[in-house]
């Protein structure tokens, strides 16, 4: 598989179809991976592809606006590219998507505790609710060959964990999130890593008016995290990068997943499936549910 990825990347650069390839390379530790930006055809041999390629590289696309970029994208990464296209942050003609068939990626944190006895690799939780599949958008698709690698065990109900926390009482939930958010150090890693957090001036940085307290306090932390979650409503494609990047381990995916479920149930809408679909929260449809109007 990797040979075909390398070959395609080499060809794209050599024929000048793209100016730059964004892909993965092995990190110096010899196990994990790092993003790599290649603009010379001969350097494409650095590229790798395996279950350790956790990062959603689409986050880098907006840094190269106006240039022709080739990008290696898993299904989840491709969905965020779709949202970026839908929101006019990218031009389709400027990007060449090398779609890769994915069987799930590892959870970096679980890697530390993995042992040969574990029957299953330390797959990331989010891969349990994603059918390992083809990206919904690509220019060329690199499929897996031969024996398929082991895939994560799929959850029967992708929103099982959401349902569990929904069942808790409001005060229980509040207490839980109070604890979680109290750890937040407002480093904004979640924002920096999120491919969909592209605002030129984030509301968290605005001072006139000052939307949220910047102090490291529960009030400010709460407002920040909830605001970010709301800004992702109908847009988040659950690439899980925010949770992975969070240095204090706040389970941010739980919030995003809850909103994703609400959006699906209320509007039968899933983000990042088609660039033609209208952004959920900025358009009106006369069939939208309105039972909340009383």
């Amino acid at each position: 598989m990797i040979d075909r990825i390398k070959k395609k990347a080499e060809e794209l650069l050599r024929t000048k179809q793209v100016d730059l390839i964004i892909g993965y390379k092995r990190a110096p530790d010899g196990v994990s991976v790092a993003p790599v930006f290649i603009d010379k055809a001969e350097e494409t041999k650095e590229l790798i592809w395996d279950t350790y390629c956790v990062y959603n590289l689409s986050n880098y696309l907006k840094d190269f606006r106006g240039r022709k970029i080739g990008i290696i994208a898993k299904a989840c990464d491709a969905r965020s590219i779709i949202v970026l296209l839908q929101e006019n942050q990218l031009k389709r003609k400027d990007i060449f998507i090398i779609g890769v068939e994915c069987s799930g990626i590892v959870d970096e944190k679980k890697l530390l505790s993995i042992s040969p006895q574990t029957s299953e690799l330390g797959f990331d939780e989010r891969c349990r609710s994603c059918k390992p599949s083809k990206p919904p958008i690509y220019d060329v698709l690199i499929v897996q060959e031969g024996q398929r690698p082991q895939a994560p065990r799929l959850e029967k109900d992708p929103y099982g964990s959401v349902r569990k926390s929904e069942a808790k009482s409001i005060s229980e939930k509040f207490k839980l999130w109070q604890e979680e958010f109290s750890r937040c150090i407002r480093c904004y890693a979640c924002r920096q890593i999120c491919p969909l957090c592209y605002c030129p001036r984030c509301v968290a940085d605005q001072t006139q008016p000052s939307w949220l307290s910047r102090a490291h306090s529960f009030r400010g932390n709460f407002t920040w995290n909830v605001t970010r979650a709301m800004h992702l409503a109908g847009r988040c494609i659950d690439c899980g990068e925010c949770e992975r990047a969070c240095p204090v381990g706040i389970p941010l995916r739980d919030i995003n997943k809850k909103i994703e479920k609400d959006v699906k149930e209320l509007f039968n809408y899933e983000a990042g499936l088609s660039a033609e679909q209208k952004a959920l929260l900025s358009c009106f449809d006369k069939n939208d549910p309105e039972d909340f109007i009383r």
Binding site: P200, R201, V203, Q206, L281, S282
Partner: protein
């Protein structure tokens, strides 16, 4: 910053519940407040003078008026501020009447709330920026949607003032419902005799353009500058070549039921709906024309001496600009199929009032004879049933259709005029004859024309030996009634056109649960809509008889002319504004804007040293609804006069 606070008593409207003096004293203690006072009626001349003098004396630069809803007196106080030398947008109102004194009883608590509301207004006004009025040009042309009596009257009035009017009519001729009527109550003028001169006036006017057989496809823009897309349906006859000689429809071999005659008569496939049609140019009904269905015949083309027939004619889409729009799209009849007991559809001799009109008309399909459609025999005993659909929340409409009492009385009279031996029976719930000479008319029909009025409902109609047996109750005598009728006429109610909601959405005007268009104010702005530049007339708003329709048509025309005579239109500067540095160009705002007031704009981003697209608000189009500001994640789009800072400041003050 020197803010003045002016607390209004509104007579006792506010003062009875709110301790205005205390409110004023408390307001005076707020920071930046330099002056505070109360007055009996702040909106009165002395009240306004008080404001002006205070501004001068205390060098006030911002004003808070604590009084009624801004929807009533915001304009008054903006003007007052302007005259006092303060920018009108440095004035804020605290609504201590509708939001306070009218809805509370407890004086202490209401007073506390009034003080709180003033504190919010003070917080907001401290963040206000002086704004300048916007001026937009006005396209000096009025679109009239619908060519019935309402549209015709509007066109005549607009043209009389020497402004161009365009009538859009989807039928092949103007004239609308009124053209189908025989006589009109209560004076019994013949409808055609009073309508056709108006139709001719329209067709002869150099200021009126008619787009008949045309439909509205889309409306963009705003008051002063509407761009309307019109589909001119293919008439298959060249309107410029045709002289209306009639050779084509005299020779056309096809016969189909005439819509104009409610199916009682026949028309040809190439036809004019009625002899006085304007324009007097036929149209080919392509569904029934042999040329279009079987590629045969072609007689009309051969026979036309002016080569006006064009089988290849296509629909034409045109775009025109207008400064104002008058909606005169009219009504349709209530579909009484829900009343199985009245036998309509089942019995040929159960007809509607509009059928009766066509029969009574001497140029109608029966030549003025009131007959039984089943066998063509002249009808003698005729039962009229009122309130078919109207005033029946269970099966029909919650409202009264207003004209059925009168047109039924007229029918009863016409019946007797057409046949001396005939007898009319009228089943009614109440008789509503509230109009000039209306009651007298009904009385005349009862007394002089012998119409029998029975107060009650009909329970069943069935056929027996060629007659329709009408069973009902006379609730006044308590008797059960059975009438052997030759003919039953149902006075069906008036309902909105089925496509009214679509038109309303196009025009951004609201409609009610009956799909009738909603006026801006039921009493004080009866022909205006909340969309400025769009006016209402006739039965598209509520059932109206001809006098009321004509009156609202002229009223709407005056409103439209009021715009036409202005050089430019002053608009409130309360519009959205984009901060170029913050805008990411996601264009969620474009999707959210119901008024197509936002465009993409390319800017040179100095920070990125690149060109990029951002949102741009068209100030003339923006209505200041704020939809865009709600969807903007980066809050790059803000509403002047209701800016994020102002609202945030208000919340902080709470």
């Amino acid at each position: 910053m020197k803010i003045g606070v002016f607390v209004c008593h509104c007579g006792t409207n506010i003062a009875a519940t709110v301790d205005v003096e205390r409110v004023s004293q408390e307001a005076a203690k707020e920071p930046r407040v330099k002056f505070s006072t109360t007055y009996r009626y702040m909106c009165s001349d002395p009240g306004q003078n008080l404001i002006k003098e205070a501004v001068k004396k205390h060098h006030l630069d911002r004003i808070v008026i604590a009084s009624c809803s801004p929807s009533l007196h915001e304009k008054t106080f903006r003007k007052c501020a302007e005259k006092a030398g303060v920018n009108p947008y440095l004035m804020e109102m605290a609504n201590i009447r509708e939001h306070c004194s009218w809805v509370h009883q407890d004086r202490v608590e209401a007073t506390a709330k009034a003080i709180e509301l003033i504190r919010l207004a003070l917080a907001k006004v401290s963040r206000n920026k002086p704004l300048e009025y916007l001026y937009i040009p006005i396209e000096k042309k009025v679109l009239i949607i619908g060519g019935g009596i309402a549209g015709i009257q509007s066109a005549i009035d607009i043209a009389f003032a020497n402004y161009p009017a365009v009538i859009l009519e989807r039928e092949p001729s103007i004239g609308g419902r009124m053209a189908r009527f025989d006589k009109t109550f209560p004076t019994l003028d013949c409808a055609a005799c009073i309508l056709t001169p108006k139709m001719v006036t329209v067709s002869q006017s150099k200021h009126v353009t008619m787009h008949t057989y045309s439909e509205i496809e889309g409306v963009k823009g705003h008051v002063g500058d509407f761009t309307v897309t019109i589909r001119k349906k293919a008439r298959s006859v060249d309107i410029n070549k045709c002289t209306g000689c009639g050779a084509c429809y005299n020779k056309c071999p096809v016969r189909v039921p005439s819509e104009f005659d409610m199916g009682l008569g026949k028309r040809t496939a190439i036809y004019i709906p009625f002899p006085q049609a304007v324009p007097n140019v036929p149209v080919i009904d392509r569904q029934n024309c042999l040329w279009f269905t079987k590629q045969k015949c072609g007689i009309c083309k051969k026979i036309c001496p002016f080569e006006a027939i064009d089988y290849d004619m296509q629909d034409e889409i045109i775009e025109e600009k207008f400064g104002a729009i008058i909606v005169a799209s009219g009504f349709t009849q209530f579909n009484h199929a829900v009343y199985g007991e009245y036998g309509y559809g089942k019995y040929k001799d159960a007809i509607t009032g509009l059928h009766f009109e066509r029969m009574a008309n001497s140029s109608g399909p029966t030549g003025g004879k009131i007959i039984r459609p089943s066998d063509g025999k002249e009808a003698r005993d005729v039962v009229f049933i009122q309130c078919v659909g109207s005033r029946d929340e269970q099966k029909g409409l919650s409202y009264c259709s207003r004209l059925c009492c009168m047109y039924t009385a007229k029918h009863a009279l016409l019946l007797k005029e057409h046949n001396k031996d005939a007898q009319a029976y009228v089943f009614y719930i109440d008789i509503r004859a509230a109009g000039k000479n209306y009651e007298e008319f009904v009385k005349k029909v009862q007394d002089e024309y012998g119409a029998v009025y029975l107060r009650g409902r009909v329970s069943r109609i069935f056929e027996k030996s060629g007659k329709l047996i009408v069973r009902g109750a006379d609730t006044l005598s308590g008797a059960q009634i059975e009438i052997k009728a030759d003919l039953v006429v149902l006075a069906t109610g008036l309902v909105a056109q089925p496509d009214a909601p679509g038109l309303a959405r196009m025009l951004h005007i609201p409609y009610d649960r009956n799909n009738l268009f909603t006026e801006a104010h039921p009493k004080l702005a009866p022909v205006e809509t909340i969309t400025s530049g769009v006016f209402l007339t006739g039965a598209c708003q509520s059932p109206k008889d001809i006098p009321d329709t004509v009156a609202t048509a002229s009223a709407a025309s005056v409103k439209a002319l009021g715009l036409m005579v202005q050089d430019r239109l002053q608009r409130e500067p309360l519009v959205a504004k984009v901060d170029a540095k913050t805008c990411s160009g996601c264009f969620a705002c474009i999707q959210a804007c119901s008024f197509t007031a936002i465009e993409e704009e390319e800017i040179e981003d100095k920070r990125l040293k690149k060109k990029r697209l951002i949102a741009k608000v068209l100030e003339g189009v923006c209505t200041g609804c704020g939809n865009c500001t709600a969807v903007c994640r980066m809050s790059a789009i803000d509403l002047e006069g209701f800016s994020n800072r102002q609202i945030m400041e208000e919340i902080e003050a709470l």
